[in-house]
């Protein structure tokens, strides 16, 4: 596994393990994050874990101390990221809970189902079966509070994003490229929406606001429109517009 370290400005830096969606790379990402958390340094403010990269936000003023050996604060942070890469060990069975998530693919829930079926020349039933056929890894939480990037989907379902995002309701399940994901809150979204879950995935008041975490696994199961309406936790009237 190779890496590249580069600055994201003068107060953040990134260790990048390659522009690729890969389970073992994503496990290394978690290992680096865990190592940085355990062996933190003064001025480290936040760690952003993504598919194949770990970025750190830091306060250069707190990092810089008299006697700092490196020429710049970035050089010091780079050495910390290098250490974390070399010293971290992948935990094979880290945080690998499987979440079973109900999804309604019918009616108004699958906004873009008809479009997808037409473009991909696959029946709606087959799209659902393909989407249900896999256990997905949570590769990262990002973009929005609690938005989960899950992968990888069956190649037959791969489709481009919409040219312009549209407003989607909370719980919408979308696909884009090799990924599927759940919109935790009502917001503009560019993924093709094939279904919707009635469960709440982000609750600012909870001790753990995001239901899913990087490294978890997700398996979807189908529910009817009736079942969906019965257990809708986030009522449409409560969501923001």
């Amino acid at each position: 596994m190779s890496y590249k370290i580069y600055p994201l400005g003068d107060a953040a830096a990134c260790i990048d393990l390659g522009n690729i969606i890969d389970e073992s790379i994503n496990k290394k990402v978690i290992a680096i994050r865990n190592r940085l958390e355990r062996f933190s340094f003064d001025g480290l403010k936040d760690i952003i874990v993504a598919y194949s990269s770990v970025s750190v936000y830091y306060d250069p003023i707190l990092v810089k101390k008299p006697g700092l050996q490196q020429a710049t604060v970035f050089d010091f942070v780079r050495s910390k990221l290098e250490d974390a890469f070399h010293q971290s060990l992948i935990e094979e069975h880290g945080n690998s809970d499987i979440f079973k998530i109900p999804v309604c693919y019918s009616g108004a829930c699958g906004i873009d189902m008809a479009f997808l079926s037409k473009v991909k020349k696959i029946s709606k039933e087959e799209i659902i079966q393909l989407h249900l056929s896999k256990i997905y890894r949570v590769y990262m939480i990002g973009f929005l509070p609690g938005f989960s990037y899950l992968g990888k989907i069956d190649e037959k379902l791969e489709i481009a994003r919409k040219p312009k995002p549209i407003q989607v309701p909370a719980g919408s399940v979308g696909i884009a490229g090799k990924q599927t994901g759940i919109y935790p809150i009502a917001c503009p979204g560019g993924w093709q929406i094939i279904g919707r879950t009635p469960l709440k995935f982000f609750d600012p008041g909870a001790v753990m606001p995001s239901r899913l975490n990087i490294g978890n696994y997700v398996q979807f199961y189908e529910i009817s429109e009736e079942e969906f309406n019965d257990c809708l936790v986030v009522k449409d009237t409560e969501t923001k517009h």
Binding site: L8, D10, Y51, S52, Y57, I61, K64, P204, P209
Partner: protein, 330 residues
């Protein structure tokens, strides 16, 4: 101890230095757009630099003080008045209860800060008072101010009411923060090359530095949309999402640039061609839609030195403000 909102402004929110440590849940830092002006506002009234402040965009709110208060207004100049009497920016001011603060006219800048001695009582969410509008958390119930909102402030540690002369509605304390260094050459913004800088064509790299960019009206707290010459990559680049920061400049598929601002997402999938240096984020935050700007390249050592210098000046300022106020009220 409170103030009331007679009439809300365009977007008045409670902000602080941001919410850090929760990116793994996709929770972005948010916080004040102009963190320098917000810190100076706090320092002028002898608050901790991280205390919550009120951030306003033009038009600003109409605010009724229900009690005497020691305040400071910093950042953009919206020609503030107390009962129609002008209030200077960047100075501590004692205001009498039942007076009204207004912002009748836009003179310059984009975001204005109001600090109150003692600090504001706000909802703390994940170790920060910053308002997160997306999930309605932090600040004042996670939303902008509305008519008749009452915002409480914390207890005083300094007795300043005695400074108000008999009939005066306000008393301006005779010292001012010198912020010239931070805001000089307001349209020149230094950037560090981003990881995808080299993926731009030579002509586009040249255009990036040589041409002017205009801030589009669709810009907001999330990002500034820029309009200028169309930039190109030397080859098609499919990127998977990765970390971004306040000041990250992304090249969009249509060849235009967006600079991520305080409410930026934690991750993004567009090429990062540059990053605005921290010391110049306050200048950028004060640029308005239709304003023109120009990028200059800087190296990271220089950027770090500028930031250290800015921070040293802030520490000197904090000390001076504290000493003067203590000497005045005792």
């Amino acid at each position: 101890m409170s103030l009331s909102i007679i009439k809300p402004g365009l977007l008045d929110t409670i902000q602080d230095m941001g919410r850090f440590g929760f990116s793994h849940w996709g929770i972005n830092p948010g916080g004040a757009m102009d963190r320098y002006a917000a810190q100076v506002a706090n320092m002028l009234v002898c608050n901790d630099a991280h205390e919550a402040v009120i951030e306003m965009h033009f038009p600003g709110a109409q605010i009724l003080f229900n009690q005497n208060a020691l305040i400071a207004i910093t950042g953009a100049d919206f020609s503030p008045t107390i009962n129609d009497e002008k209030v200077p920016l960047w100075q501590p001011v004692v205001v009498r209860k039942n007076t009204v603060l207004q912002f009748p006219k836009l003179i310059s800048g984009s975001v204005c800060y109001l600090s109150i001695h003692g600090g504001i009582c706000a909802n703390e969410w994940l170790k920060s008072y910053a308002t997160n509008l997306k999930v309605s958390a932090g600040g004042l119930s996670g939303r902008p101010f509305k008519k008749n909102d009452e915002i409480f402030f914390k207890e005083n540690s300094i007795y300043y009411a005695g400074l108000l002369k008999e009939d005066n509605n306000l008393h301006v304390l005779p010292w001012r923060a010198d912020v010239q260094k931070t805001y000089k050459f307001p349209h020149e913004i230094s950037v560090i090359k981003g990881n995808e800088w080299d993926q731009m064509t030579g002509n586009s790299q040249f255009d990036f530095i040589e041409n002017n960019y205009i801030i589009h009206p669709s810009s907001d707290r999330m990002g500034y949309q820029l309009r200028g010459s169309t930039l190109q990559l030397s080859s098609q680049l499919e990127m998977i999402s990765s970390g971004v920061n306040f000041g990250t400049i992304q090249l969009l598929p249509d060849g235009q640039l967006v600079v991520l601002m305080a409410d930026h997402q934690t991750t993004g999938g567009y090429p990062r061609v540059g990053h605005v240096i921290s010391a110049h984020l306050p200048k950028l935050a004060q640029l308005r839609p239709s304003d023109c700007m120009k990028f200059r390249l800087a190296d990271i050592g220089h950027a770090e030195n500028l930031l250290m210098e800015q921070q040293r000046d802030l520490q000197v300022l904090a000390r001076a403000c504290y000493d003067r106020l203590k000497a005045t009220v005792c």
